[in-house]
């Protein structure tokens, strides 16, 4: 391969990884935007989405299965909030974060018993395992385009929702100043439920589109959550578009590092870059400096 094509191929493989991190990071961001909580069970929502879709796909056409999975997992997200958060006496951020860690373990175990330990996957949305789209001599799986599409739709949808609808603006209000939002007549608890449902739904969508590439199994959530989290931090928490840029950046960085270093140093270079960015800009590449405004994007 000539050097130009080669560089492009590395870039495209970075985009493949990055799109996966980005689509996971978006879900992270929404709950954070609405509640200030980092949801460590976000990876499990992604896993659940994939699992439910694979199960449904045995009975119904693929698009219906994906829609069904998003709905089902969104309901699970709402239920989790109702069960574990609403009755809580102290809604301190730390309490909530610790609960999400517990939830991630519970969901994993539940998935292990509901399904089993086996690896499964959805079929490729277009083409099959060996088809690829040619771009100037380099190649990329068509499924990556689906992932990027899902990223685009999610970001655009979220932007419209958070900026231009009353519900979305109320959600942002809860995050930036809960007391004031309450005084303005916003039901904070309901907003939190909605945020969990939406995040879970977004996670499920991610789980469906990445399933053909990464495959789905009950333990996949943890690893994805870490990378998604890194992407969200790098971009700047609280801003969906920043999360996407962060995700793609982490992916491309990893691929570029493979070009020059042994692949074993993959994560090292990605996280070194993350640390560097956080040193220079503690609020991420696109986040606003002050604490409260980070969430108010």
């Amino acid at each position: 391969m000539d050097p130009g094509n080669l560089a492009l191929q590395y870039f495209l493989s970075g985009i493949t990884k990055g799109s996966i991190y980005a689509v996971v990071a978006i879900g992270f961001n929404l709950i954070y935007s609405a509640t200030g909580v980092l949801n460590f069970a976000q990876g499990e929502f992604v896993m659940l989405g994939g699992m439910v879709a694979v199960t449904l796909a045995q009975f119904v056409p693929l698009p219906v299965a994906v829609a069904g999975a998003i709905l089902a997992v969104a309901v699970v997200g709402c239920l989790l909030e109702l069960l574990f958060f609403r009755k809580l006496r102290h809604h301190s951020i730390l309490h909530l974060i610790i609960i999400t860690i517990g939830l991630s373990i519970v969901i994993q175990e539940a998935a292990l018993h509901l399904w089993d330990e086996k690896v499964r996957s959805l079929p490729y949305f277009t083409g099959n395992e060996i088809s690829s789209v040619r771009v100037f001599g380099a190649a990329i799986s068509p499924q990556v385009l689906w992932v990027l599409g899902a990223v685009g739709v999610s970001v655009a949808g979220l932007h419209v929702f958070l900026r231009y609808t009353l519900k979305g603006r109320a959600m942002r209000a809860c995050s930036s100043n809960p007391e004031a939002a309450m005084l303005a007549g916003i039901n904070i608890s309901n907003m939190r439920t909605l945020a969990f449902g939406l995040s879970a739904g977004l996670g499920a969508l991610a789980g469906c589109v990445i399933s053909p590439i990464t495959m789905t199994h009950y333990e996949m959530g943890g690893g994805l959550a870490i990378k998604g989290f890194a992407a969200a931090i790098l971009g700047g928490l609280g801003n969906p578009m920043a999360a996407v840029v962060g995700g793609l950046l982490v992916g491309v960085l990893e691929a570029a590092s493979v070009r020059y270093l042994p692949a074993a140093y993959n994560d090292v270079s990605a996280f070194a870059m993350l640390l560097l960015v956080v040193f220079v800009r503690p609020h991420g590449l696109f986040g606003a400096p002050a604490g409260a405004q980070v969430r108010e994007h």
């Binding site: 495209l12 493989s13 330990e117 690896v119 395992e129 190649a139 990329i140 495959m215 070009r259 994560d267």
Partner: protein, 386 residues
């Protein structure tokens, strides 16, 4: 009955019962066999079929009257692939349950953690993991029934040489299985006349490997790729290679010997070559092949009972139990030292992985011909013929 009498009666009853029950355990009760498998967790693809197989075989033996007229009792523990859990379960099986022998664990890492423990307590351990270090250096009480890593690597290299392949790329995952395989491939390369041009390790949770494969593609002269890992990376490698148009043969380790992985990779798995024991191609064995009977009966029973394809990993549990039962018959009873000696005397025992010939110095029992080169054709495993 007043309380005092009740307590006295109870105490008396218990004291009478106690010696009776311990006597029973030694002479006529069921013979306890411990099993530690990673039924859940990252190595569940090894442990889950093993646990199912062990239960199935023990039930079958008991239905047929047991061994020497005594039933077997399987005490199964799920280590979830964690060496710490394996250690505490091994202690429990040794001290509390006082089992005759332990089969498992599924992974080499877990086995190495309990190797010394079993040796100290003179507990027979029949490991279902592959690494060479389990039986080398030799421990008196530790055996293994899975074929060796080094045999798999040798067979891969020899098949390559038949095709005139001399220069390879080696990919492996950053876990025990991948590291052990990588070491064997590196150590054996020189002796087998192979040259490793690219040697990369990736994260076991990797979601996509196109970047590493791009590196392989950019390296001139690579004639084949060897991947040594466990699912899902095995399927991802196959897919990514075809997607970026890296059109050299793909060799995988014996870890690929579960048809699920080929299914996950779909058409991308076609033509993949890997060494495995004959259990995965039982249908193709000639009727007079020594393993034919064992392999087909295990395959039929397992697939009927659990409605899933048989894999080599379940077979290891089958073989481990087979070894214990054979030794028990020879020893005449559950005397641990006699059973241990009987295992070392086993010759020509036909199992799912091959024909076992143990000795005081060889605790593996299998030779290179336990492996067959297998390929994927139309989504099915079939014996590879040049």
């Amino acid at each position: 009955m007043n309380p005092l009498t009740a307590i006295l009666t109870l105490g008396l009853g218990l004291s009478l019962l106690a010696p009776a029950s311990s006597l029973a355990a030694a002479n006529s009760g069921p013979i306890k066999i411990g099993a530690i498998f990673s039924v859940t967790g990252p190595a569940s693809f090894l442990g889950a079929p093993a646990a199912k197989t062990a239960k199935m075989l023990v039930d079958k033996i008991n239905n047929e009257g047991g061994v020497n007229g005594r039933k077997l009792q399987l005490i199964l523990k799920d280590s979830a692939g964690s060496p710490e859990k394996a250690v505490s379960f091994a202690k429990q099986l040794i001290e509390e349950e006082q089992v005759l022998a332990i089969i498992g664990p599924s992974t080499s890492g877990e086995t190495m953690q309990i190797k010394a423990l079993c040796e100290e307590n003179q507990m027979i351990l029949i490991s279902c993991a592959a690494a060479e270090v389990i039986v080398n250096p030799l421990a008196k009480h530790v055996f293994k029934v899975a074929p060796k890593d080094s045999h798999a690597a040798v067979l891969i290299y020899r098949t390559m040489k038949d095709h005139g392949i001399r220069k390879v790329a080696v990919l492996s995952s950053n876990d025990g299985f991948g590291a052990a395989g990588k070491k064997q491939l590196e150590d054996l390369a020189k002796a087998e006349g192979m040259e490793i041009l690219v040697n990369e390790v990736y994260d076991k949770q990797a979601t996509d490997l196109t970047d590493i494969l791009t590196k392989v593609k950019s390296q001139p002269g690579v004639q084949a790729v060897v991947n040594w890992s466990i699912v899902p990376a095995q399927s991802i490698v196959a897919k990514n290679m075809r997607q970026i148009g890296l059109n050299v043969p793909l060799y995988q380790s014996h870890g690929f010997a579960n048809r699920k992985y080929a299914e996950q990779a779909g058409v991308a798995a076609e033509g993949t070559l890997f060494p495995a024991s004959r259990i995965v191609v039982g249908d193709e064995l000639a009727d007079d092949h020594p393993q034919k009977r064992v392999v087909t009966s295990y395959k039929q029973e397992y697939e009927k009972l659990f409605n899933e394809d048989v894999s080599t990993f379940g077979g290891h549990a089958y073989d481990a139990l087979l070894v214990i039962v054979e030794a028990l018959k020879k020893a005449g009873g559950p005397d641990r030292e006699k059973v241990r000696q009987a295992i070392e005397g086993i010759q020509g025992l036909v199992g799912t992985a091959g024909v076992f010939n143990f000795s005081a110095t060889d605790h593996t029992g299998l030779s290179l011909d336990a492996f067959e080169m297998i390929t994927v054709k139309n989504g099915k495993f079939t014996v590879y013929r040049k």
